[in-house]
Symmetry: C2
Subunit: 225 residues, 2 copies
Amino acid sequence: MIDFKALFKISYGLYIVCSGNKTKGNGFVSNTVFQITSEPAQFAASCNKDNYTCDLISRSGNFSVSILHQEASSELIGKFGFRSGKDFNKLENTTVKYGQTGAPIVTDGSIAYLEFKVVEKIDLGSHILFIGELVNSQVLDEDKVPLTYAHYRDVKKGIAPKNAPTFIDKSKLEAKAETKSPDNYKCLACGYIYESDNEDIPFEDLPDDWTCPICGAEKEDFIKM
Amino acid sequence: MIDFKALFKISYGLYIVCSGNKTKGNGFVSNTVFQITSEPAQFAASCNKDNYTCDLISRSGNFSVSILHQEASSELIGKFGFRSGKDFNKLENTTVKYGQTGAPIVTDGSIAYLEFKVVEKIDLGSHILFIGELVNSQVLDEDKVPLTYAHYRDVKKGIAPKNAPTFIDKSKLEAKAETKSPDNYKCLACGYIYESDNEDIPFEDLPDDWTCPICGAEKEDFIKM
């Protein structure tokens, strides 16, 4: 018997994984980055094949991992976690540096970063697991605390994007929230609140393709408050 | 340039990974277990080839993951993290159940467990990355908090075993501790303190093959307090 609640007890951090180069770069929010050997230092990162960044990693053979801290803004997480880079340049208006492999590295909201060259690629069906050898890393802020997925979920009230390996069925979250006022809706990606009373259209009547004005998350990524 | 301090910012949980069956079973403490796809639910676990459990997973094609909580005892972590199962039955005097694959599952100190059948095996040099498909899982305790590696390191003052992908050079820890009394030594595995003044032999003069009387950790796993 599988109890999916058991899966939520696994601990993860929260990262922005980027790839590409100065001309064409992109990134996405990931919680599945981890070290797998110490000599040499190799890491694994799981990436949904639907993510634009997945193509970029395959083509460029590099990726960077920015380790988010607890004060990383919801807008940053919303932008990289809930919008596709296929039709939108996520790196614009984000503080980015370029590593020795040429990969973009997000330094906004980040406590440290790691840069990898891909040494292996494992096809897992919906996702590709990239194995990277560490070529470059730096601590950006000694004092801040790394953002964990538990903190993101419990304190920042965030959810996993649909492409994440740890995507959570949202109906479980909605059931909890329904005791509060019926009119306002909160964006689970960035925290923006749509106050139906102060808008021309109640949230329920917004078109299905309406998106969050702050981070671009979809209407279905909002919950009733 | 590689700054290894950046690697310490990655967040991990702490787990006991077991494999085998009722006749021959073993387990080890791991921090590198993570979900890699959601449909089907597949996880990856990195295992040093020197670990006895690594052979057992290869042979039996199953493994279980017990998710430790914050109140898990240092003795439990010491026993599974710092002793080899080659010459010692770790499952004796531990609360264990057997899953549907036959794998032993440690329930002591655990908030939940997951059970897998191996679907892929990736050779990474020093380690093997096992990909498992989830076949069984259960929450054992709704109220406790999952133990994170950060908590283990910062609050419980634990270190990574030498076989772990995230093994930390201990000299960094010793430098910090040297301002305190010179005579007592603490076992980093279980917290046991060797008080040289109250023993016949000062810690420094103990033989190299001396081990912790509580958890069996080696002499070099102690730090000066």
